[in-house]
């Protein structure tokens, strides 16, 4: 696939005509040569300003996002769910709200939540999310306790191999929790053996290892029900797994906001949505303006 992108505006523009068309072309030529730092400034303003206003927008829920909510909602109280946090603070803006909402929904339903991470920075992110989820009134009312209702098993290195090993024995992969206490001391882990003891796996994924590996190993090989929350950038690829191999899919901040609406827990993703909307509009305007200028100048170019 080829194609030479025009790199710069054509400098030394054609004569500025006296006609309106000529003037339009001249403007277009200047537009093409605009210093890109002006574009940067524009983006900064468009994204920052809305942060200072707390505007709630109406968010429509897609079937993919509803899939996650429904998969969790149908589980009986006491069922074990596995939350795999495979991301780092770099992607937290998009993914942290998903982790928080999942924890809120699961804990408010009295599910037993087992947290782990294939990324070393995942479990600390999960701790932050737990703190936030436990502050939610619906969760706080049930007063979930560590080791009984939820547990953080921490990080395990080895990427997809870890998932494979979980398929034969969870306690063998995680003999201790994140803080080093043997898991035998926690009632929540009693009877947890492998994926057959886990009713639902929710993977929050920022790349490798992540959803692809959970689908291929936990889902395809060990027949676990897998749902995924992922950065928007990975979402298009993961659509090929939905709905056959993924019961639900949250893509980026919008997916997080949809999940918040579907599960009934408004959170950070909803508050960011205004900024997100505006930033998309800015980009669309840039594309339209850029192309308008391009078309105007092109129509004026002498044909070879």
């Amino acid at each position: 696939m080829t194609g030479r992108a025009p790199k710069h505006g054509r400098p030394g523009a054609a004569a500025v005509g006296t006609t309106v068309a000529g003037a339009a072309v001249a403007v277009a030529e200047r537009m093409l040569r605009i210093d890109r730092r002006w574009l940067f400034a524009f983006v900064t303003v468009a994204v920052s300003l809305p942060l200072f206003f707390n505007l709630q927008q109406h968010v429509a829920v897609t079937p993919e996002a509803r899939g996650v909510r429904d998969a969790v909602a149908q589980l009986p109280p006491g069922a074990h769910v596995l939350l795999a946090c495979d991301y780092d603070p770099g992607s937290a803006a998009e993914l942290q709200p998903m982790t928080v909402t999942f924890l809120k929904q699961a804990l408010s339903q009295r599910l037993r939540v087992i947290v782990m991470g294939l990324w070393p920075q995942g479990p600390p992110q999960a701790d932050l999310a737990l703190e936030e989820a436990l502050r939610d009134p619906a969760v706080a009312a049930l007063a979930p306790r560590y080791g009984i209702d939820y547990i953080n098993l921490g990080f395990q290195s080895g990427n997809e191999v870890v998932i494979q090993r979980l398929g034969s024995s969870i306690p063998a992969v995680f003999p201790r929790d994140y803080r080093g206490t043997p898991i035998a001391q926690f009632p929540i882990m009693a009877g947890v053996r492998d994926f057959s003891s886990i009713a639902y796996v929710f993977n929050v994924s920022a790349g490798y290892p992540g959803t692809v590996e959970w689908v291929q190993f936990a889902g395809d090989r060990f027949h676990a029900h897998v749902g995924s929350g992922t950065t928007a950038v990975s979402a298009p690829l993961y659509y090929t797994y939905y709905p056959a191999q993924l019961t639900g899919l949250l893509g980026g901040m919008k997916g997080a906001a949809e999940y918040e609406v579907a599960a009934g827990f408004t959170g950070k993703a909803m508050t960011y949505m205004f900024s997100q909307s505006l930033s998309h509009i800015v980009v669309v305007i840039f594309i339209l303006l850029g192309n308008l200028a391009f078309l105007l100048t092109r129509s004026r170019r002498p044909q070879p």
Binding site: M1, T2, G207, D220, P236
Partner: protein
């Protein structure tokens, strides 16, 4: 209102606990051994919450013994509404084991009839992977056939890939301008085939820079990649008769970190203004940072990756982009060696087979003759 014990009504939780039925134990198929599978019918008391009956069964206990008379030892437990389990705890291949499954309610248990002996064994062939084996054999056969075909001197036609025909021009331009050719082999390590494909392209580009006398600069993000790139560049300079122009520092390490690497290359681009930039390999988010900065310094950019999420940005910001499979074909294409081109031809035949299967498969699925798709289930 009177409540009669033992009849339908809210008091049924007090009825006798029924045992699970029809327990079967078999060797787990297609495994390394040491695992048995158990299946049983749920206890009559184990029904979904809200359904008529009672849901007071709190789980099932798996019990194992070396003889049918016991003693039975608990080896695991599963939640209610579960009718299967696997046991892989300390089983030895070739030994017979006896099992029973007990429905549990609080302190009381109702064990099933004993089932056994079941003997765990390992298998020498994974029957679920026959389809993959066939695919391996067919594809390998086709590719090997055409490699041999080409080795015998039969011509192989390969269409033009425009990005690759531009390599000459791009390197020539750098020479004329007296600026560097920057080659970025992706941000990932040697355990990724895209990196290997990128290094194969580097081999061909290095021959060009050696011949034209252009300066090559290869910043890398991984130590192993550094070693492999040095071998590759050195080989190219030797093969073209310019060993004196080779220095190890043409290939240098920056940092393993994705964005640390991008930040450092941004610096190199802005300060040294390379005339030509190759980005060939696996790129993630750093792709656009590099492509935009490269563009802002006015370099000719030839990119290639098989990472779909980054392709739109390469397509937009670079002069030429190799898409997906083209990245893997590039090394072979540029080498112009008959064997390499033969492998491309074989790979094409593989694609043709897939196209034919797609058409046949869709027709069969549509007519409902049989479940053709089931042949492609992977395990």
């Amino acid at each position: 209102m009177t409540v009669a014990l033992g009849t339908t009504g809210p008091c049924q939780a007090l009825s006798a606990l029924r045992a699970p039925g029809n327990l079967r134990v078999i060797d787990a198929p297609d495994d390394a051994g040491g695992t048995l599978l158990l299946r049983w019918e749920l206890s009559a008391n184990d029904v979904a919450a809200g359904a008529p009956g009672d849901s007071s069964v709190t789980g099932y206990e798996i019990q194992r013994a070396q003889s049918p008379d016991g003693p039975f030892v608990k080896v695991g437990e599963v939640p209610p509404r579960t009718g299967e389990a696997r046991d892989a705890q300390g089983l030895r291949d070739g030994v017979g084991y006896y099992y029973r499954v007990a429905a549990v309610r609080g302190e009381s248990q109702a064990p099933s009839a004993v089932c056994g002996p079941a003997v765990p064994t390992g298998q020498w062939f994974h029957r679920g992977r026959v389809n993959t084996l066939v695919a391996v054999l067919v594809l390998t056969g086709l590719i090997l056939y055409f490699i041999e075909h080409a080795r015998r001197g039969r011509p192989v036609f390969i269409r033009k890939i425009a990005g690759l025909d531009a390599v000459d021009e791009a390197v020539g331009r750098a020479t004329e301008m007296g600026r560097k050719v920057l080659f970025i082999p992706g941000s990932q390590d040697m355990d990724n085939v895209q990196t290997l494909a990128g290094i194969a392209i580097l081999g061909r580009v290095a021959r060009q820079t050696a011949q034209y006398g252009a300066t090559l600069d290869v910043p890398v993000a991984r130590s192993m990649v550094m070693v492999a790139c040095r071998e590759t560049v050195k080989e190219a300079y030797l093969a073209t008769g310019h060993p004196e122009s080779y220095r190890d520092d043409l290939v240098h390490y920056l940092t393993d970190d994705q964005f640390g690497y991008a930040a450092a290359i941004d610096g190199i681009m802005v300060r040294e203004r390379p005339a030509t930039i190759f980005m060939q390999g696996l790129f993630y988010a750093e792709a656009l940072i590099l492509a935009e900065t490269g563009n802002s310094v006015g370099a000719i950019q030839i990119a290639g990756t098989a990472e779909p999420s980054q392709l739109p940005f390469f397509v937009a910001a670079c002069d030429y982009t190799l898409i997906g499979e083209e990245l893997f074909a590039a090394g072979a294409y540029l080498s112009r060696e008959p064997q390499q081109l033969g492998s491309l031809k074989g790979q094409d035949l593989g694609k043709a087979v897939i196209l034919v299967l797609l058409v046949i498969g869709v027709v069969i699925q549509t007519t409902g003759l049989f479940d053709f798709a089931a042949l492609f289930v992977v395990q």
